[in-house]
């Protein structure tokens, strides 16, 4: 027993935290120009979008979303969207809801801008895939709060750290599902492209990506859902929106206000989920799959 305890006491303190701090400090010192640039870019995307969404009266926006829902999924969903968002518009948190939507859209767009090309790359390179996969696991399992700390370090308090923490957290399913979609493309169909002398680039654009699109769209949907789940956490670093509504309610113990914020998040989530889902279902490859199931 003694020996085991002694060995136990001899275990060194592995200072990965210090190493990380050093890394962050060094980056802040030497790469400040880069971070400023990123911050400016994100800011210039989120703020105008948020103000664009909040400029028209709430009822106009509700009707626009309802129309979109009707067009993409049918009148039932359009009506549901009108009722749900109408309820949110009836609460004093419409502007916050729209600024959260802006944050989610920009974060998701940035995440996908990185995720889809990375997914294509690792689908074509098994070795790169072996390296990237554990990193994706790390990004996804790391508690989301942890991203906020260095993000504040680099960008201070505000929308930008929230948006970037959201990008990191929501990216993995985009990469994974892009890779999966491309790998699932029938080997013989790709071979046919090669046999008729098509270039790898053309096979990717005309055959693989269209066929992988339904799966990639599932990835898009997942990315948006994860981004939305980050908004409350992002609210803690001053990203505003519904996150701020909920965190404020938490700190002031306002049960009703917190519930209102939560319901608004849920309604936004359902609308975004169904809309992106129906975009995926409208792709040619998804139609082909349905035709196959009917046959």
């Amino acid at each position: 027993m003694n020996i085991i305890e002694r060995i136990n006491d001899m275990l060194p303190y592995v200072r990965i935290g210090d190493a990380f701090t050093t890394g962050v400090d060094w980056s802040r010192e030497h790469l400040s120009a880069v971070f400023d640039g990123i911050a400016a870019t994100v800011d210039s995307l989120v703020e105008p979008l948020a103000s664009l969404l909040t400029t028209p009266p709430a009822i106009v926006m509700v009707l626009i979303f309802a129309g979109l829902g009707w067009w993409l999924r049918g009148w039932k969903f359009g009506l549901g969207t009108a009722l749900g968002l109408g309820m949110v518009a009836g609460m004093p948190i419409w502007d916050q809801t729209m600024s959260t939507l802006a944050l989610v859209l920009v974060s998701s767009a940035l995440a996908l801008l990185l995720a889809v090309p990375l997914g294509i790359f690792i689908a074509e390179n098994p070795r790169a895939s072996a390296i990237v996969r554990p990193v994706l696991d790390l990004m996804q399992t790391m508690p989301a709060f942890v991203y906020l700390i260095p993000a504040i370090f680099f960008f201070g308090v505000g929308v930008v750290p929230g948006a970037l923490a959201t990008v990191v957290f929501s990216m993995p399913p985009g990469v994974r599902l892009t890779e999966l979609g491309l790998r699932q493309v029938d080997r013989e169909v790709v071979e046919a492209g090669e046999a008729f002398g098509a270039s790898p680039w053309k096979i990717l654009l005309r055959t693989k990506l269209p066929l992988a699109l339904p799966t990639i769209m599932t990835g898009v949907n997942q990315v948006i859902m994860l981004a939305l789940s980050m908004v409350v956490i992002a609210g803690m670093v001053g990203a505003g929106g519904l996150g701020e509504v909920i965190t404020t309610a938490l700190f002031r113990a306002q049960v009703g206000a917190g519930f209102e914020g939560g319901v608004a998040v849920v309604i936004l989530a359902v609308v975004l989920d169904r809309l992106t889902d129906s975009i995926g279902a409208r792709t040619a490859a998804a139609k082909a799959q349905r035709a196959m199931q009917q046959a």
């Binding site: 013989e188 090669e194 098509a198």
Partner: protein, 448 residues
């Protein structure tokens, strides 16, 4: 040396190997030194998919590669258009060694010279039948109108012109493969590779598309390399057949050659249960005619041959050994009595029916039954190639339904110079014949 295009084979494969695995180079060395893969390669982490393949495919022929799954035939066909790079050896397409081509040049060659039809059709499910049929043209960068026109023409050839706007999933399996065929036809290449193209289809549909392929082939005269594991399909389609086993080509020949003269027990077993009466032709079962008399030799000669051969009729040949008909014993005796000198006057075509030497055995039964004398077999030039007595047809039928490998060479009559029936047709009119000799039913197995 300037060779005309006609003399260059469409495809030529020389000592082609494909070995999968980490120690492929080591395995190659062993294989080249004659190791049989089962023995010496056992210790190496390799799979020898194709071993020392050598063959040429002539322009306009259907060359079938037949073998069971795992025999390496799919690997072989993928090396013919460079989808797989060989471990060793060369593949020449129109005299160009494609194993030395850069990727871009290889793609160009595929666009211009070789198209392919796949086992599971490999159509793009998200695009219409027309788009699929015009795929090769799209890759080649043709303008939309031209591609549409050519693709529609190809769809018309396979009988699918009304289906251009459908998705592949809305078609049946047989129709989908016809789209695959149309895609290859629209590409306009001289060479088509067909990888188990009809294997995924129901037997009846398969038969239908086989017929369609043969019709199209008669019209277009493409060079086709056709992979199959189905012997009947191979026999139906192939001008020549290569039989593959465990990566090696064990025999190349026409359907008939492979049936009548299998190179080893493996091939013999493989072909054991084919309906041979459809594959074997008259030339495979015919035997040497006992009495052949030149038309200019006169009735006396005919009468003597008839006496010697103890037969009821002799076969009369004219200039260039062309078959004219028979003279019966009665007619000859009467002519001798009447002192006639000319055989021509008493030649009859009533007494022995005539068949072509390429007639399948199945179609000889009726003429054989109607014919009083053995049926005369005539070659393309009209010469007498041989005869088929009823008893020979029956014994041939008996022997072709038993194992081929049991048939050993039958001794031929010793006094005949040529050992094949075709040779005997050119023999002198007064062939001294051994009447008692048991005629060989399977002439191609003679010691020739």
């Amino acid at each position: 040396m300037p060779l005309g295009m006609e003399t260059v084979s469409a495809l030529r494969v020389k000592s082609l190997y494909k070995v999968y695995g980490n120690r492929a180079d080591k395995a190659m060395e062993l294989l080249k030194n004659g190791a049989h893969q089962d023995e010496k390669l056992a210790g190496l982490p390799v799979t020898a998919a194709v071993v020392d393949a050598n063959f040429e495919v002539r322009r306009g022929e259907i060359f079938v590669v037949m073998g069971l799954s795992g025999s390496g035939k799919s690997t072989l066909i993928r090396m013919l258009n460079g989808l797989l790079a060989p471990t060793h050896g060369t593949v020449e397409v129109d005299g160009i060694d494609i194993t030395k081509l850069k990727p871009a040049a290889l793609r160009k060659l595929r666009r211009e010279k070789i198209s392919m039809v796949f086992q599971h059709f490999a159509l793009q499910p998200h695009r219409s039948v027309l788009d699929n049929a015009s795929y090769a043209l799209e890759v080649a960068g043709l303008p939309r109108d031209e591609r549409r026109e050519k693709a529609l023409e190809a769809l018309r050839m396979v009988g699918l012109d009304g289906w251009a706007d459908k998705l592949p999933q809305e078609l049946s399996g047989g129709m989908r493969q016809r789209v695959g065929l149309a895609r290859a036809l629209a590409a306009g290449t001289d060479i088509m590779l067909m990888d188990e193209a009809f294997s995924a289809l129901d037997p009846l549909i398969r038969r239908e598309v086989q017929d369609q392929l043969l019709e199209l082939q008669a019209e277009l005269g493409k060079t086709i390399v056709f992979i199959t594991h189905d012997l009947n399909e191979a026999m139906r389609l192939g001008d020549r057949i290569a039989v593959m086993r465990a990566g090696r080509i064990v025999q190349i020949g026409t359907a008939e050659e492979i049936l009548t003269d299998p190179s080893n027990d493996y091939v013999a077993q493989f072909v054991a249960d084919v309906d041979r009466t459809r594959i074997l032709t008259a030339s495979a079962v015919m035997e040497r005619p006992l009495g052949v008399v030149d038309v200019n030799s006169g009735p006396r000669v005919a009468a003597r041959v008839l006496r010697e051969t103890q037969t009821s009729a002799v076969y009369i040949t004219g200039r260039d050994k062309r078959y004219l008909g028979t003279v019966t014993a009665d007619a000859a005796a009467q002519a001798v009595r009447e002192g006639r000198k000319n055989l021509q006057e008493i030649v009859s075509t009533e007494y022995a029916r005539t068949v072509d030497d390429t007639t399948p055995v199945a179609d000889i039964f009726a003429p054989c039954a109607e014919s009083p004398a053995p049926v005369a077999v005539v070659d393309a030039a009209g010469r007498l190639a041989g005869v088929i007595p009823r008893v020979t047809l029956l014994s041939a039928l008996g022997s072709i339904s038993t194992d081929v490998s049991e048939n050993t060479a039958t001794p031929e009559p010793t006094d005949v110079a040529g050992t094949t029936p075709a040779a005997s047709g050119t023999a002198a009119p007064e062939v001294p014949v051994q009447v008692g000799a048991q005629a060989p039913a399977r002439l191609t197995e003679g010691p020739a």
